[in-house]
Structure formats: C-alpha cells, structure tokens
Symmetry: C2
Subunit: 353 residues, 2 copies
C-alpha cells in the first residue's frame, strides 16, 4: 500500500512538473502550417484606406506585389537561396515608382533622394547596410555587396556611393529618382510644415496627402529557402521632407532588418524612430529564442504592445525557420503578399480580418 502511495506521489510530482513547464512553451502552437520554403513581402504600411483607392490603382499595386513575390518564389522553388530571393524580389519593387524605395523614393527637405537599405543572412549572421546613397539604382544590391565584398556592415553617404561604383553596381543620374507624385508630396509636406511648425507636432513633415495620412512606404522581403536558410532585406527612400541626414530603421540591423536561422527573418516598415527605439526586428527574434514565443505571438507583442506603447506605428513581415509566415501591423493597411511551398498566394492591402 505504501509503495502504491509513493508511486502515486511520484506520478503527481512528475505530472505537475511537466504541467508547470507548459506555460513556457504553450505559445509555440504555430497557427499556420509549416512550409519547406516561404516568402513574404511588404510595400509599406500606413493609413491606406479603401475609400481613398480607385479599383484601377489597387489593381496596379496588387499586380506589382504579385510580380515581385513570384520572382522570389521561383528562385526558392528552383532551390535558390533565400538571399537571392530577397534581393531579386526587392529589386522589382525598387524599380517600380509605386513604392517608396529605389525609383519611387520620396524627397528630402533639400529636394534630393537619399536611399537606405539593409540585408541579413540568417545562416552566418552576416549583414550589410547602406544609408543615404543618391546614385545607386538598387540599394538592396549595395547592401548585399557590402555584406559580401567588404569587411564592413554599414556604409553611408558619398562613401557608400563610391563603394557601389567600385563594385560595378548600376549607378543612375540623381534625376532617375524624380517622380512628380513624390515631388508633390514634398511640396505638400513643406506647406504643412510651414503652417504647423508652431504646434510642435513631431509628425509634421511626414504627412503624405496622397493617402490622406502619414505614410511609411518602404519595401521589404523575408524568405526561407529549401536549405533552411533565412534571409531578410529592406529598402526605402525614408520619410518625405526628411533632413539633417536622417537615418530611419530600414538600414539598422536589428531594427529594420534581422535574420537568424535559429529563429526568424523580419523586415519592418513603419515610423522608423519608434522601430529603432523598440528594436523591433531583433526583439521578435529574442522573444522567440529566449521566451519560447511563436513567431505570431512575438510579432504581436512587439507591434501591438511595445511599438504602440511608445506611440509608434507600422508593421512587419516575418517568416520563421519552420516556414510559418506572419504579417503584423497596427496601421490601417500594409501592402503585402506571401507564398508558401504549395504556391498559395496571398496579396492584401487593407486591415487584417
């Protein structure tokens, strides 16, 4: 009898201790199913409202998002690397005037275009970033060249343009980045700036009337390839009317971009200052690695709790080492798309349902 009681006691001890462990991992229930390879992109988050969009314009955005993601998907499907998928997918968006990156970059206060980009390799934790270039057609290519062909992680300004030239990357005349649309946004931002400067509204200068609110157009891509390697990349023109050589989160490793085969790959788009302060991309990875959260839970915590608490807004796309994909944003919309290894395509713009 005593033995039975002892056995019973030990069983309870064992069971309750196992139960006790659970809370640590209870959020590891991935909601989406695993995928051998996967790709997720964004074309910027902001107050993108359906009422301000024409069906024609929406169709153009959707088509470009689809073209971009299918470019990366094809690379992954054929066994290519996540780094290649990220680079080539971002190239498509950089070459389009629709997004605030490459060709469609916004204007600075000085009526110039200063572009930022970064990329990270989850396998090696190598990274490359460039800030404030003015002649590089595809900044994500420069970020990658910095990662692969220099002893540095981050280059900036004229020096970064010089390095791009030495690397044989495609350079363009600064006029290449002129689009009427973006130039008008700058003019509106400056008008608003001069009117509202007295109100100490820190958002002043970032207003983009085109979508009736602040806009954080930035493009980004994250991918998992068939070899289990994660990569993340981000490219942007920054904020309309920016000045003083302002650098946002896009070229900051850990804020705008982060990839680690142990956890996930993340690309951010949002009010960059808050994304730096909240360490968005690395914090999502850290919550997974150290606290055992799922990618979805980690992304939610960072975007809806941490960033929102600071007063910032924006979103992220991410993929984890098991191919689980996540969109997460606290704005009205985010241009976005995803594809899994079955070729299932999701393209969306407005609020999550």
């Amino acid at each position: 009898m005593k033995k039975i009681i002892l056995l019973f006691c030990l069983s309870i001890v064992f069971i309750s201790c196992e139960t006790n462990k659970k809370p640590l991992n209870s959020e590891n229930n991935f909601t989406s199913k695993n995928s051998e390879f996967a790709i997720v992109i964004h074309g910027g988050a902001g107050t993108i409202l359906k009422k301000n969009m024409t069906p024609e314009k929406e169709a153009v955005y959707r088509a470009k998002l689809e073209e971009a993601i299918k470019t990366g998907y094809k690379i992954l499907e054929e066994g290519g690397s996540s780094l290649d998928a990220v680079t080539k997918t971002i190239n498509i968006m950089e070459d389009s005037p629709l997004f605030n990156a490459g060709k469609g970059s916004v204007f600075t206060n000085a009526e110039t275009n200063e572009l930022d980009a970064s990329i990270m390799d989850g396998k090696t934790l190598n990274a490359g970033a460039s800030a404030g270039t003015t002649t590089v057609k595809n900044p994500i290519d420069l970020a990658r060249a910095i990662m692969e062909n220099s002893p540095h992680v981050m280059l900036s300004g004229k020096g970064a343009d010089t390095f791009a030239a030495e690397q044989g990357l495609e350079l363009v005349d600064t006029s290449y980045f002129y689009t009427e649309n973006r130039f008008n946004s700058l003019k509106r931002a400056k008008e608003r700036d001069s009117i509202e400067l007295d109100h100490d509204d820190k958002k002043v200068g970032f207003y983009d009337a085109e979508i009736n609110n602040f806009k954080f157009g930035t493009v980004g891509c994250v991918a998992l390839d068939k070899n289990g390697n994660l990569a993340a990349g981000t490219s942007t023109g920054g904020m309309t009317n920016k000045r003083w050589g302002r650098i946002g989160d896009a070229p900051i490793i850990g804020s705008g971009t982060y990839a680690n085969n142990a956890t996930c790959a993340v690309s951010s788009t949002g009010w960059g200052e808050y994304f730096i302060r909240a360490q968005v991309a690395h914090d999502i990875s850290a919550l997974m690695e150290y606290k055992g959260l799922s990618l979805k839970e980690a992304a939610r915590t960072v975007i809806h709790d941490k960033v929102a608490k600071l007063g910032g807004d924006g979103g992220i796309v991410a993929v984890d080492k098991n191919g689980n994909m996540v969109f997460e944003f606290n704005t009205a919309g985010m241009y976005r798309a995803s594809m899994n290894d079955n070729g299932e395509l999701v393209v969306d713009i407005y609020e999550q349902h």
Copy 2:
C-alpha cells in the same frame, strides 16, 4: 493518516515545482551587491598589454579615467540624472587625446575625422545618435540634442553637423581633431594595407601599431541614478583607415548603446561589425528580460559566446536596475572604471583576474 499522506504529497508537488522553476532564475544571483546609484565607463578595448605600456603612460590613462568617472559620480551623488552623468563623463574623455573619441579620434582613409556617438534613456526608451560628423567637438552632446530636440533618432554626415550648428553646440575647425599620434597610426595602417592587401586579411587597415595590435578605442558610460533611471552613451572616432562612410556599432542603438529601466544599460567597444551582427547591447538586455539571466551572465554569454563565435572581439560595460556593475571583454585589456554609491572606485586596464 490519509490526510497526512495527502498533505505530504501536496508538499512534494509544491516543492518540486518550485525546484523546477529554479533553472530559469538560478542565474539571478547577483555577484556584486546592489547599489542605489552607480556608474561604469570604458575607454576602449583591445590588445592592451602591460609590456607595451610605460608606468608614466599608464598613470596618465588611470588619472583621466578617474577624472571622468568622478565627474559622473558627483552628478549622481547630488541627485542628478543618469543622462547628465553619462553625457558629462563622456565629455571628459572626448576632450582628451588619450581616447578614440572627440579630440583623440582616429583618421579615416581620406585623412579626415568622422565621429559617431549615441545615447539612450532607459526611462523613456528615447535615443539619439549621430554618424560621421566632422565639426562637432562633443558628439555625445549632439546625440543627446538629437534625442531631446528633434523628432529623429539618428542623423548623419553634413546634415548632422548642420543640426548641431542649429542647436548651438560647440563646433570646431576640422584641424582640432588632428593629433600626431593618430595620424601616424593612419600612415602605418596604410603602409600595412598596401603590403597585405593581397592576403585578403579583413583585419587589414585596422592595425594600430601603437598597441601592437588592432585597437578599438571608443569611450562609453552607463549609469543608474537615485531615481532608478538608467542611461547609456558611446562616442568614437571609429576605426583607423575606415573608408566609404563606414558606420560601426557605436551609433547603432541596440548594438553599441542600449538602456532600458526594465533591465540594464550597456555601452560597447569592440570590432563594430561583429557587435552589430551580434546585436550586443540589446541582446544582453533581452537575455535578462526574457531568459531571467543576471547582468553578469547575460554579458558573459554575449561577449564570450556569441561575439567570440562570430570571430569578433571587444567588450562592454553595463549596469542593471539594481546597481550591479559589469565589465566584460574578450580582449587582452579594456580601459575601464566603476564607482558604486559608497564611492568605491575601481580603475583597471588589463585582463580581468
């Protein structure tokens, strides 16, 4: 009898579950005692060997470290803020030619001096950073002005110099940053560069013959004030012979500098590229917050495990919300000092014992 057995069983369940929880917090045994306020500084890590140092030179370094830390200590003792202590302490080191920051900044490949700095407020998670300024006497003051008087976190290049001028910060002629010592280091680096370029040695160009090895002089300070607020700051001239507008970890929030009242304040000094890739400053905070490690354990993990595994070297100084102070480096030495609320002063240069 049955009741006693049941009580016994429940006790075992309770005790064993408590024991089961322990591993999570077992490293929370702070080795140093808590301090109401505290300050820790570094003046750079590297292969600083006693055999290469004269007693006179060592005395000069020790005296300057003591002067710097006592400046911040006095502010904290009188009830001042950790932000003020960090700023004023770093000013002392920036104004000295001994350290690679401010006056003693190293030269770029183009024979210019391009300075970086950053600061973070653990209470608000506000942050400020500047990269590549050439006329600002005290870049840590600029980083603080960016944090407090601009809507941005990070400014760069000429724009950052312009902002500094608008803020009324002290500007100097670029010749202010000329020191014969540093210029000779650049010449030696260039000579070595031209000889060894064929060897694909990525360390080439960073060689500083002055201390017979690679040197990562950067200054930094972390502090906890009487109100429980943490702050961290870092200031540097970067790496000798740097080019292409290279930005290291010093002005990168989360890499060179991080402060969060929930955890700790960290300032890094090391081979910046590796400190960015390893997300050094934020990772130490994340290991404390999410994994329950002590500051010492977190710092050890990041410096000796993560950074070292990537192939990087350097160190950090840190203080946590309870006033526990940490020096941690994987180089032969690090100029460093600490003071607790009892006024106990530690000044050291070489290997930890």
